[in-house]
Amino acid sequence: MAFFQAEQMSVSFGGLMALNAVSFDVEEGDVFAIIGPNGAGKTTIFNCINRYYDLNGGRFLLKGRDITRVRPHVVAEMGIARTFQNIELFRNATVIENLLLGRHRRRRSNLFTEALFTRSVRRQEMQSREKAEEVIDFLDLQPYRDLPVASLPYGVQKTVELGRALAMEPALLLLDEPSSGLNMEETQDLAFWLSDIKEELGITILLVEHNMRFVREASDRVLALDFGQAIAQGLPGEVLQHPDVMKAYLGDEGAFTAS
C-alpha cells in the first residue's frame, strides 16, 4: 500500500472536465512531480487534496485512510502541508508570525487557558517558537525574521511560504510551482533544500513544476497530465522522453526533441 494514493480523481466545473479519472500513487519518502502544460489540471489536484474543491468522483487515501470528504482543516491536521502558486502569505504579519501559524495544528490549549495565559500555554508558545527558529535556521531566513512579509522580495516570500509549510511538521508536502519566478541561484537553493527535506526530515514531497531541468534533477517519479487526463507516469527520464508528453508541450508538428 502506497503512502498516498489517488484513485480515479474526477472534477468538473460546469461542463468543463478539469480532471478525468486521474490515478497515481506516491511511495513514502519520494519526491513525486506532476507536470503538464497550463490548464492541465495540476493545481486542481492540489486544490482537491486540500479540499478547496470537492471531487466529483474517485478518492484519495493517505496511509490507507480515505480523506476525500474531510473538512479542509482536518487535512492539515493529518499532516498534509501545502504552498500556493500565487503566494498566500499573511501579509500584515512578520515572518516569524507566519511560521508560528504553521504550528497551529499543535495547539493544545483552549480559549480560556489562553485568555489567562497559563503556564501550559506559555510552555507551548516557547516550544512553538523553538521549532519556528529551527525552520528559520534551515532556510536561512534570519535577516528577515521580524520584517513584515509584504515588504520582502518575491523569492524570500516563496521561501517563507515553504518555511510555513515545514513548520507544520508534515508527513506530505505539496509544493505548487515552487520555482516559478525564481532565478537560477534561488532555484539551486530550492533544489538543495528539497533534497535536505527529503533526507533529513523524511517528508514525502508532491511537486507541480514547469521547470524540466529541476524536475529531472529533483524528482524520483513523474506524472504527466494534459487536459485533465494522465498521460504517463514513471521515472523522469522515461516520462520526459515519452512522445505523448512531448506532443502535449510542443504540439503535433514538433519535430524537436525535448532538452
Binding site: 492539515a76 500556493f84 508570525e97 501559524l101 497551529h104 485568555a115
Partner: protein, 357 residues
C-alpha cells in the same frame, strides 16, 4: 532607536516589550486611579463612559480589526447585555451574577450570528449584521412582556453585598477595573495561537485553512468573544443610565462603535481606547469650537452629526492608521530624530484594483 538583545523566547511573548514600558503603564494606572479623585462628577461620568465603551470597542477591535469580520450590528449585543442585566437584577439576581450572565447570553447570541457569518465575507457580512441589529431592535420594542417595549425599563445601580456603586466615583472604578480585565484578556488572546489564527483569517482564509485553522470554529469564537465583552459593556451601561429603552440601541450606535475603532486606528487595542475617548469628547470639542463659528452655523442641531461624519471621512482619507497611527508616527519621529525621513509612512498610490477578489 532602541535595539533589543533577546536572550530567551520568553522575551518575544512578554506583554511589555521593554521594562520602561511596564513602568509607564504602572504610572498610567496610578494616574487613572488618582486623577478622578480630583475631578468633578461630570468628568468622572465621562471617564466612566469611556471605560465602558472601551470594553465594547476593544472587543469589536478583536472581531473587526484582527479577525477582519465587519460587524455593523454590535448595538444588538450591547442591547442584549443591557436588557439581560436589567431584567435579572430586577428579578433579584445579584449584580455579580447578572454581569457575567449578560456577557454569556450575548456570547450565545453571538454564536448564533456567527453561523451565517461562516459563509459570508466583507460586505455581505456587514449587511447581514446590520439586518440582524434591526431585527433585535424590533424584538426589544415588541416583546413587551419581558422588556416593557418602548416604555423602557428602570434599572437599579449595581451593588455587591451591601456596597452599592451609586456614586460616580465608585462606578468609575468598577468600569475601569472591568476595562483592565478586558484588555488583559484581549492581549493574552492576541499573543496566543487563537490570536494568530484570527489574524490569519483576516489576511488569507485559504492559507489559514491549509494550516489547520478551523474557520468555522474560530470565526464563531471571535463573534462569541466580542459579543461577550460587548454584553458586559452593555450591562455596565444599563446600570449607569438607570433607564434604558430600545431607542438607545439603534444602528447609529453600531456605527458609532465602528467609528471609534476606525478613528482610533484599526489593528491595535490602544487605538480602540483612543478612538473611544475621541468620540466621547467630540461633543465637548464641538461646543468649545462653537464660539469660533458664526452664529448661523453654530446654532444648528445638525452641526454635531455633521462634524462627526466629517471626522470619520477625514480620518479615513488622510490618516487611515487613526489616532494610534498619529501616535506611532510621532513616537517614531522622535526616536529617529534627526534622521526621520518625511516619506517613511507614505502609502503606495494605487490607481485601480488589479484583482477581483
Amino acid at each position: 532607536m532602541r535595539f533589543e538583545m533577546k536572550r530567551s523566547y520568553y522575551q518575544d511573548i512578554r506583554l511589555f516589550k521593554y521594562r520602561s514600558t511596564f513602568f509607564w503603564y504602572l504610572a498610567l494606572l496610578a494616574g487613572c486611579i488618582l486623577v478622578p479623585l480630583l475631578l468633578d462628577d461630570y468628568f468622572r461620568s465621562q471617564l466612566t463612559f469611556i471605560c465602558l465603551y472601551s470594553t465594547v470597542t476593544v472587543s469589536l477591535m478583536l472581531l473587526s480589526g484582527y479577525t477582519g469580520q465587519i460587524s455593523l450590528g454590535h448595538a444588538a449585543f450591547f442591547a442584549i447585555g443591557s436588557y439581560t442585566s436589567a431584567i435579572l437584577t430586577t428579578k433579584g439576581v445579584p449584580f455579580l451574577l447578572a454581569l457575567p450572565a449578560a456577557g454569556v447570553l450575548s456570547a450565545l447570541v453571538g454564536i448564533v450570528i456567527g453561523l451565517p457569518a461562516l459563509r459570508l465575507s466583507g460586505l455581505y457580512l456587514a449587511i447581514a449584521t446590520m439586518g440582524f441589529a434591526f431585527i433585535v431592535e424590533e424584538i426589544l420594542a415588541r416583546w413587551e412582556t419581558v422588556t416593557q417595549g418602548n416604555l423602557g425599563m428602570l434599572v437599579d445601580p449595581p451593588s455587591v453585598g451591601s456596597f452599592s456603586f451609586d456614586t460616580e466615583l465608585r462606578y468609575f472604578y468598577l468600569a475601569f477595573f472591568i476595562l483592565i480585565l478586558t484588555v488583559l484578556a484581549a492581549r493574552n488572546i492576541l499573543r496566543s495561537p487563537t490570536g494568530r489564527a484570527m489574524i490569519a483569517i483576516r489576511d488569507s482564509e485559504v492559507a489559514a485553512q491549509a494550516m489547520g485553522v478551523n474557520l468555522a470554529k474560530f470565526k464563531t469564537m471571535a463573534f462569541a468573544i466580542s459579543a461577550f465583552f460587548t454584553g458586559i459593556g452593555g450591562s455596565l451601561y444599563a446600570h449607569k443610565l438607570t433607564f434604558i429603552s430600545p431607542e438607545c440601541y439603534t444602528i447609529l450606535v453600531s456605527i458609532e462603535f465602528l467609528a471609534m475603532i476606525i478613528i482610533g486606528g484599526l489593528g491595535s487595542l490602544h487605538g480602540a481606547v483612543y478612538g473611544t475617548a475621541f468620540i466621547i469628547f467630540l461633543p465637548q470639542l464641538i461646543i468649545l469650537s462653537k464660539g469660533y463659528l458664526p452664529a448661523s452655523v453654530a446654532d444648528q442641531t445638525g452641526l454635531e452629526p455633521a462634524l462627526y461624519g466629517l471626522m470619520i471621512m477625514l480620518f479615513i482619507l488622510l490618516e487611515p492608521m487613526g489616532i494610534y497611527g498619529i501616535w506611532r508616527k510621532t513616537k517614531f519621529y522622535f526616536e529617529m530624530f534627526p534622521l526621520y525621513k518625511k516619506d517613511t509612512f507614505r502609502r503606495e498610490k494605487k490607481y485601480f484594483k488589479a484583482e477581483r477578489h
